[in-house]
Amino acid sequence: MSQFAINFIFVMGSFALYLAIAIWSRARSTREFYIAGGEVNPVVNGAATAADWLSAASFISVAGLISVGYVNSSFIMGWTGGYVLLATLLAPYLRRFGTYTVPDFVGKRYVSKSARVVAVLCLIVISLTYVIGQMTGAGVAFARFLEVSVETGLIISAAVVFVYAVLGGMKGVTYTQVAQYVVLILAFTIPAIYLSLMMTGHFLPQTGLFGKHAASGMPLLQKLDQVVRDLGFQDYTADVDNKWNMFLFTLTLMVGTAGLPHIIIRFFTVPNIRQARWSAGWALLFIATFYTTVPALAAMSRLNLLETVYPGGVEEPLVYEERPEWFKNWEVTGLLKFEDKNGDGRIQFYNAGNETFASTTAAERGWAGNELTVNNDILVLALPEIANMPPWLIGLMAAGGIAAALSTASGLLLAISSAISHDLLKNTLLPNLSDKQEMLYARISMTGAIIVATWLGLNPPGFAAQTVALAFGMAAATLFPCIVQGIFNKRMNSKGAIAGMIAGAIVTIGYIFTYLGFFFIPGTALFPNTPEHWILGISPLSVGVIGAIANFIVGTIVSLSTTAPTREIQQMVARVRYPTAKPAAVN
């Protein structure tokens, strides 16, 4: 059977599973549509949260990012550490408060339609920018594994999401996400185990990373440091100079993670606060399984690639005609590109940007420039072939990459559509909707969100690559402080909350647009996006946490200079903190 047929069977098999779940988990009430009836088991919710979190980009591209070296550890810590904030500062209280959506909490806590609408706007900016990348990611995953165009892949993905999300709402999304987590984690960890066994002899990639490189007997990371140094790259484990920006970037990722609405709403689906707490632990455990495998895969794949190009050590590059089969396969896709600059028929792959190295060592060896362009996605995509894995495993990886894209897209679409139907329609514009009518509107909103997201995925605005930074920055600067203040600051009122969110959004968006262009339009940036032009050395990607600080300060000042929240509101906050507080004797 051809590899295509195997991939096709795996992907279609996984789709059949999702559709079966969709039919089984139809939503019958708004409660089921928005929060899966509030009856989801904490372990199940943990797996669903992990699938919600791990996107097509995590599956395909993060290992490549991490393989740059120590400096990109920010992604590992940032995309896991946010769950500690979520578990201690947000999730349990929001569950106890008992709302359907994030703007629903804002609207009820601050008793303000304006605050609710501002929160809806922030949510839409965050989730819609985030979903564009997921839709294109689904298309790319399809195109890679199933030999269809990116557009066709995107439309098929949208159709599958349409069936289970419109039918089942949160209930359908939750149970398909669990299946998707299982598929994606197996598809990611099994090849990593293969590679780890091959490179280090360790079954667990996590211990293999700090183990010995089987071929040389040296510690793996030391070997990798040595090889990359000999090619003019920076040491893999080298420390970085600009710790300040790395610090802010990591913090922005963490705070942003904790403020992402599609993640927060997952914690509304468990039965009570106890389960919400446990569920955060399970979610992080499932996510950590992935994010401790990634750095191992990154280091091993990079070393493996370099060993392929330099089979006899760095002085003896591979003869192009003798390149392995997988190398040829990926040249076809353009992810690997060879250009013989010095005409010796060998592949020289090194850091030509390192001038000292290029003018000394490389020149002495007769190298005339880097000859191999590597797209970092190859570290994951070519893995099955590099490690000689059986064809069924490649099929599983195809299903895994697509599962990662679909699960995140559906979570985001649900966050958007429920904010529209529940917050904008039911609680603002059309308060007289019956439960049945609201459900219909929820389904229409979901359909609309899918159509908009598909359209954006097919016609990605030029700034698509920048939007995830915007989503994290905005989540950190608007919703996170607003929710945390709502729980931990009794004195916080609606005016403060609104002013805070607006201030956070202005600081974050303003700073990003200053360096990346007004609405990311090329040529409209006020300053070049280079460290010497950044204010206090803060990169536009790290500004979210500064926006969050602006939100806290402005919110607190505005709140303190306007009237205190009503007694009802303060009692509501008290009940979120200590639910058993008894009504006082009537005096």
Partner: protein
């Protein structure tokens, strides 16, 4: 208590007026414990990631961990493992506290 919680409530609308709730010393003690637990959890969270994995890494360079140093280990693995332990610890302790204080819903 009542003074602290005064607000603008329509005086003639008795049904809209929520009954005053009494926050006991015990409730405050429960909340203070929670806040202290959060501070402890987030302190460890910050130490392992921003401390050991980032800012303090130069100080930990001397301690070797499998081909790299302790700071590298914290940045790529140690902090994540600690986060998992922290969230489970916080959940376990708070759920136990809820039982001790009868705060279960």
């Amino acid at each position: 208590m009542a003074n602290e919680l005064t607000g603008s409530v329509a005086p003639n609308d008795k049904t809209a007026q929520a009954p005053l709730i009494e926050v006991s010393e015990r409730d405050l003690k429960y909340w203070r414990f929670n806040l202290r637990l959060i501070v402890i959890t987030l302190t460890i969270w910050a130490i392992v990631s921003y401390g050991c994995g980032l800012l303090l890494r130069p100080l930990l360079m001397g301690i070797k961990v499998g081909g790299a140093d302790l700071g590298f280990w914290f940045a790529q693995q140690g902090s994540v493992l600690t986060f998992v332990a922290l969230v489970f610890f916080y959940s376990w302790r708070m759920n136990k506290l809820d039982e001790e204080f009868g705060m279960e819903e």
